[in-house]
């Protein structure tokens, strides 16, 4: 089997401008939605109580909401969790009431309506924990970005490091944009997925840059644009197969992993799709515009000028 029967080098960089405009528009949209709608943060970040209640028969979410609403919780969120028999109830932090009292009160009310209701799980997070999670998340993001930049600058060159990080941060913002647009729940697991995507799609850029460096070495007469095009063309089959394989696992998580892994898998899917796009088209294009040259990657052989103190240095007959 061979999916990729490519006859000639595909001139990706000729369309760089168009591709980058698309990127920029998506990015701007993501930022707009993030600013406009914000993320639907999970209880881990906001603080509050989450209850998971299981019923014997499928249950009407509206009725549950009504029952809980009568207890004096105005903005209570009730949704199905996994199956139609399980519901998840989110309660905000209430002053002067512990989460145990809250959940006992809610369970009493629910049992009065349907005695088959069983509390499967309960989670309470104090408000001070959430703040810390946000700062720690940002710290982790900063450390990933800085760490990767230093490594790439050391292994390749700063222009590559910068373009890789820019391209991949663009992925991260787009994932967040999706979560903001659809108001999907942003939990700690999703944060982990986002950061893992950052590491994973940098992978992609590294593979392409590795090939660009090799091409610079091998084909001395090729122009920079041709070199980049060639590198992307010759790695594209690997890129798509690898991501396809990873996507297979992620899909498996999406379908079989249950509600906890649902958004985790979703974040990874978006990350993987945009990861391919950004490392092929965005990272290389930024590197091109930053003016990457053959000399940047291939260190000139040391000059054989001999001893600089040699009195005869430079003397020719």
């Amino acid at each position: 089997m061979e999916f990729f029967r490519i006859h000639k080098t595909i001139p990706f960089m000729r369309h760089a401008k168009v591709l980058n405009i698309i990127s920029f528009v998506t990015f701007a949209l993501a930022v707009f939605f993030l600013a406009h709608r914000g993320l639907h943060l999970s209880v881990e970040f906001t603080g509050g109580t989450v209850m998971e209640v299981a019923y014997q028969q499928s249950v009407d979410v509206g009725k549950v909401r009504e029952t809980v609403g009568k207890l004096g919780y105005p903005d209570v969120q009730v949704q199905n969790y996994g199956t139609s028999r399980d519901v998840q109830i989110r309660l905000p932090v209430q002053k002067g009431q512990t989460s145990a009292q809250q959940s006992a009160q809610v369970m009493d009310a629910l049992k009065a309506v349907d005695p088959t209701a069983v509390l499967r799980g309960n989670e309470f997070v104090g408000p001070q924990v959430g703040e810390e999670l946000t700062t720690n998340g940002l710290k982790a993001l900063a450390m990933v970005v800085i760490g990767i930049m230093i490594y790439l600058a050391f292994r390749f060159e700063w222009k590559f490091a910068l373009s890789t990080v820019l391209a991949n941060l663009h992925d991260v913002v787009i994932i967040l944009g999706f979560f903001a647009f659809f108001q999907w729940e942003f939990s700690l697991a999703v944060l982990a997925a986002v950061l893992a995507v950052l590491g994973y799609s940098v992978n992609e850029s590294v593979v392409i840059f590795d090939r660009i460096r090799e091409n610079f070495r091998r084909y001395r007469k090729m122009s920079t644009v041709e070199t980049i095009d060639n590198a992307i063309t010759s790695t594209i089959s690997r890129t798509i197969i690898t991501h396809g394989s990873t996507q297979l696992v992620v899909l498996s998580m999406f379908f079989f992993g249950g509600p906890t892994l649902h958004y985790f898998a979703l974040a990874l899917t978006i990350g993987i799709c945009f990861g391919i796009y950004s490392s092929c088209f965005v990272a290389a294009a930024i590197a091109m515009w930053l003016g990457v040259k053959r000399e940047d990657l291939i260190k000139a052989p040391p000059k054989r000028d001999g001893d600089p103190d040699d009195p005869n240095a430079g003397a020719t007959v």
């Binding site: 061979e2 512990t98 997070v125 990767i148 498996s252 079989f256």
Partner: protein, 627 residues
């Protein structure tokens, strides 16, 4: 060129064997068991306890499948849960005669069904997190500011007393947050006081200043002393929590420090959060009262008369009655420390007590009036009082005094612990709480397992179809990667959570990347006209640099997650990082070994089974070379 020296194969074989052995316990599953562990610091669990367990079970007509003894507990394994429940009742009767004062904790548990020789090799199944096994998880925040404030208040009192003792007049001591301010009317007193602080209060640092006609001395707790104080407060709270949780009869409670001021409490298998919280939040109180030594009191103590009016009867820890007056002299709030030690003169074990200023003043007055009389120290828990000790007063007491005489070292340690553990060193608050029902946990395991399995099968089918024999090699390498990952997680006994299983699934995706890189590279070399052997060699060689770079960048992200993540993120990061490292071994080193073994010996190799190698022709017509 595609041959491995023998030692490389040896490494592969050894790693595989070790991996297999340590991954093995995970396949045996778990069996019901009953666990007997000590509920008190003074109770030891040893071979004697094991023999007692065996006898008790025999008397109850039960034969355990296996009986093991480890550092803290004896565990009896059973085949059915019925036997397990019966055994629990039998052991409960034998080991806990009085439920209000249990010397042992008898709890239901699950132990690995793996054979003894594996356990002897310290090969255990992976340690499952609460989201997989069910239970309650609390995060407690210790109010350190409260602890230091309390300590500063105690210092202020001490300082006030010392200044008075030294006849340093005209001073006014006040506490302002965590600093103590002393005002004087003349400079000489200030200097004297400063000297006093330097000599007697090693934990305080004093700075003087002048405000108009007033001289002011500002003493603050030294940073290292504050740190020590916080450390001690946290340790004491953890000890207290341990003692209380023992009552719950939880098989494997986890009580750990997290960060500087937090404590994690995990109670696997516990569903009743309300009871757990009640126990965590409960405060035992310590009270000091005088023993009623009137004639009526003595008669009541001997059991020959009624308890006189204004007194109460309590039992001491040996079960002897002590008649104690109802008036409370001092409570545990005034006790700042209790430490075991040795008397410098008699070389007998003792317990040193330190009271705060108020407590010290009361002690002095009480001891002056009640010389040679007995004073009882009582601890109240769940509304029930118990006399810890009732020594007689042999002199005028101050804010530091000692209890000594007729105590063993163990008893002194125990008494000091009980006196201290009576109350929490610093107030605590539950800031996070999670309950996972056992059915939810089992659900999570099966869902996580399914996603890993189906993902793995899907990739395997694809690889074998697309890369033929090389795909088979890659699939085997992938299976090895999973095996090693499970083995290392079992070896480290790192906690496996649902996000951890997700990371395992993702690790499969990341690991296959290396194999795809290699296989594509080999194909490319073949496409460019290299001979099969040269293509394999060059393919592995050239792909290695790329694999290393891409794995290091992924690892950087993993380490960052590990460093800053908490809870689920950490569980993800641990597995993610280990998965990257094992993938480098399996995808590159191990798969090369397989390839070398298969193709390396063939000198005149014409073709390699790596799927279709398609060559574009320069004139645009393509030639497909099927293999």
């Amino acid at each position: 060129m595609n041959r491995y020296p023998v030692w490389k194969y040896a490494i592969i074989v050894i790693v595989l064997l070790v991996g297999l052995v340590y991954a093995l316990p995970n396949f045996f599953g778990e069996a019901p068991a009953v666990q007997v562990s000590a509920a008190k610091a003074t109770v030891k669990v040893d071979a004697g306890t094991q023999a007692r367990v065996q006898e008790a079970l025999k008397a109850g007509g039960l034969t355990p499948d296996m009986l093991t003894l480890d550092a803290t507990s004896v565990r009896a394994r059973f085949v059915t849960t019925d036997d397990q429940l019966k055994a629990r009742d039998v052991l409960q009767r034998a080991f806990v005669p009085d439920a209000s004062d249990p010397p042992y904790v008898v709890a239901l548990n699950l132990v690995s069904r793996s054979p003894t020789w594996l356990t002897a090799l310290h090969a255990f199944p992976m340690y499952l997190g609460l989201d997989l096994r069910g239970g309650v998880d609390f995060l407690l925040q210790v109010d350190m500011k409260g602890a230091i404030d309390k300590r500063a208040e105690a210092f202020a009192g001490d300082l006030r007393t010392s200044l008075r003792d030294k006849n340093i007049r005209g001073s006014a001591v006040s506490r302002n947050g965590q600093t103590i301010e002393v005002r004087f009317r003349d400079a000489a007193s200030l200097q004297a006081a400063k000297q006093l602080v330097q000599d007697q209060f090693a934990d305080l640092s004093a700075v003087d200043s002048q405000e108009g006609s007033d001289w002011k001395l500002t003493a603050s707790i030294k940073p290292e002393a504050a740190r020590r104080l916080q450390d001690a407060a946290l340790k004491q709270n953890i000890t207290t929590l341990h003692n209380r949780i023992n009552e719950l009869g939880v098989a494997e409670p986890v009580i750990q420090q997290q960060g500087l001021d937090r404590i994690v409490v995990q109670l696997p298998g516990v569903q009743d959060t309300a009871k757990a919280k009640d126990i965590l939040g409960r405060t035992a109180t310590l009270e000091m009262r005088l023993v009623d030594e009137s004639t009526e009191g003595r008669a009541a103590e001997l059991g020959t008369g009624p308890v006189p009016f204004g007194s109460e009867k309590f039992l001491d820890r040996q079960g002897r009655p002590v008649i104690v007056k109802k008036q409370v002299l001092v409570t545990g709030e005034n006790l700042t420390d209790a430490q075991p030690g040795f008397d410098s003169q008699t070389q007998q074990p003792k317990v040193d007590l330190t009271m705060d200023a108020k407590g010290g003043r009361i002690m002095r007055d009480v001891s002056r009036d009640n010389f040679r009389k007995r004073m009882a120290m009582l601890i109240f828990e769940k509304g029930k009082g118990e006399v810890l000790t009732a020594p007689s007063i042999n002199g005028e007491l101050g804010n530091r005094f000692q209890i000594s005489g007729s105590m063993s070292v163990v008893e002194a340690n125990d008494l000091a612990l009980l006196l201290r553990a009576g109350s929490l060193a610093a107030p605590m608050e539950i800031i996070q709480e999670r309950t996972i029902g056992p059915s939810l946990g089992a659900d999570n395991i099966s869902k996580g397992f399914k996603s890993v399995m189906y993902g793995f099968i899907a990739i395997m089918v694809f690889m074998c179809a697309y890369y033929a024999l090389f795909g088979v090699f890659s699939s085997i390498a992938l299976a090895v990667n999973l095996l090693l990952l499970v083995a290392i997680l079992s070896m480290l006994q790192a906690t496996l959570t649902l996000p951890g299983i997700a990371a395992m699934a993702l690790a499969i995706g990341v690991a296959i990347d290396s194999n795809v890189l290699i296989n594509e590279r080999v194909r490319e070399e073949l496409r460019n006209g290299a001979s099969p052997q040269a293509a394999i060699h060059a393919g592995y060689d050239r792909a290695w640099g790329t694999i290393l770079d891409s794995n290091v960048t992924t690892l950087i992200a993993g380490v960052a997650l590990l460093a800053f993540g908490s809870g689920p993120v950490r569980g993800f990061a641990v597995v993610h990082c280990i998965g990257i490292v094992t993938s480098m071994f399996s995808a590159v080193f191990f798969s090369r070994g397989l390839v070398n073994l298969w193709y390396g010996g063939k000198k005149k190799l014409k073709t390699v089974s790596i799927g279709t190698v398609w060559r574009p022709k320069t004139d645009g017509t393509a030639v497909v070379e099927a293999k």
